[in-house]
Amino acid sequence: MSVVIGGMRLRGPVLAASGTFGYGTEVPLLERRALGAMVSKGIFLRAREGTAPPRIAETPSGMLNAIGLQGPGADALISDYAPRWAEWDFPVLVNINGESASEYGELTARLDGIPGVAGFEINISCPNVEQGGLYFGNDPRAAAAVTEAVRKRTKLPVWVKLTPMVSDIGVIARAVESAGADALCAINTFVGMSIDLNAYRPRLSFRTGGLSGPAIRPLAIHLAHQAARAVDIPVIGIGGIMRAEDALEFLVAGCAAVQVGTATFVNPNAIAEVHDGIAAFLDSRGFSSLSSLPRYLPRD
């Protein structure tokens, strides 16, 4: 079940999504054998405290989060985590964030060449920061500028994580493809709000949060499919995958791989179960490999 994503061979198509797997060191129970790759929690160049609690709220088949990209910054990442990643048998990509295109570039330069850092996932889609984040993901020119700034500083794989908060994801997808992205990740969370009827104000201190989980899956499949139709680089599908069948929907819809996020909170073995379930499905349908799975990807 190995797949090649923008020049990088992964041992399987099921990856850990950013922000839902920490730095890969937290959950002892997890079966790592099935992990194709891990994307680290998003970081900025400098350490960030994140937002005040409450940071999460549950919703029907989903959850809102506004963590605010709490993280240790580049230096601590390099000293505390990268050395451990360097010893693992799967690649770790760093989810990078910035308040300007040049800050993204600076962070890339700082991390490029550090053993353990196998590539970059550019986050231009975080709904939970006051500066940057979503803004870059909404505007094709800004998205391309950030991608270029990162691309110039590294030869490692560069993935760009798209926001769903757009009228036409194809426009952004093509813009970042032209700017040198090796792959696209679709999608990040949708902006949502939930009201506390005791306090008569939003449940989250940040007021809004990003919606993840099974609730968004049909929307995510559509957006990943639209992105895949728009570009020639691989698209990694993300959003509400709980079981192998969910991942298979993204794969049939044109994705080359998938990331699993919120499911890990409910089931720390989710990645292994999704991976094994895909293998069992292929087997039961008589497909010898993932590449023989039929795809539904009409080109306009």
């Binding site: 839902t20 937290e26 405290e49 937002t51 409450p54 940071r55 999460i56 989903g62 959850m63 963590i67």
Partner: protein, 254 residues
Amino acid sequence: MNLFLLDAPITSKRQVARGMFVIGLHAPEIANSVRAGQFVNLALSPGPLLRRPFSVYRASADHIEIVLKAVGAGTAQLLALEPGDRASCLGPLGRGFELAAGPQTAVLVSGGLGVAPMPLAARDARAAGMRVTWVHGARTAAELCAETDGETVIWATDDGSQGTAGTAVAAAPDAEVVLGCGPNRMLAALAERWPAAQVALETYMGCGTGVCLGCAVPLKGGGFDRACKEGPVYRAADVDWSALPTHLSYAVTA
């Protein structure tokens, strides 16, 4: 530290106060390794998406118990389970109370459902050689958890219907070791009186395993800790109580 994900059968259910029940689960691996103040994360399918955290109330060779009230959809569904039904149980989670061995005096202060970690805490404190006093408070007599596990308990009720009138914090004697659990508002009061107390606090949780950063606890020294990993037990003085939500809004109540 080991973590277990079990499909645990419910083995018992009994009422211990008005609306408050104890549920027993067959979970040998967790029962054998859990420490006072640690919790388990339960899930039902079909049911809410996220797991729900519950302190371990008691642990025997093969079984753990949790104590709960129906405050919303998840707890109501758990309470509808009968012996023989199953729940997915992840644990033990978090860091429990630290009880250095020695002949000290210990006071356990619990309010309402904060009774949850106290039977294990009393057991472990006694095992560490301490003299234990347990103070338990609630709004009214009917809401006091009736089980005392052989400990002498000082009762406190807001309305004076049993024991001292007033809060458990006010009713508690001084001691060298203070352990607290209850509403965050009560713990903030406890922190005023005993900055060195160990308190088990409550936050919303996404994962319970340290990966989501959803359970942020604001610290006096700045920044945030994870209640599920560095907590849920904290040195009372370390928490920035003014920035910790005092009231977790579960279901809609007036």
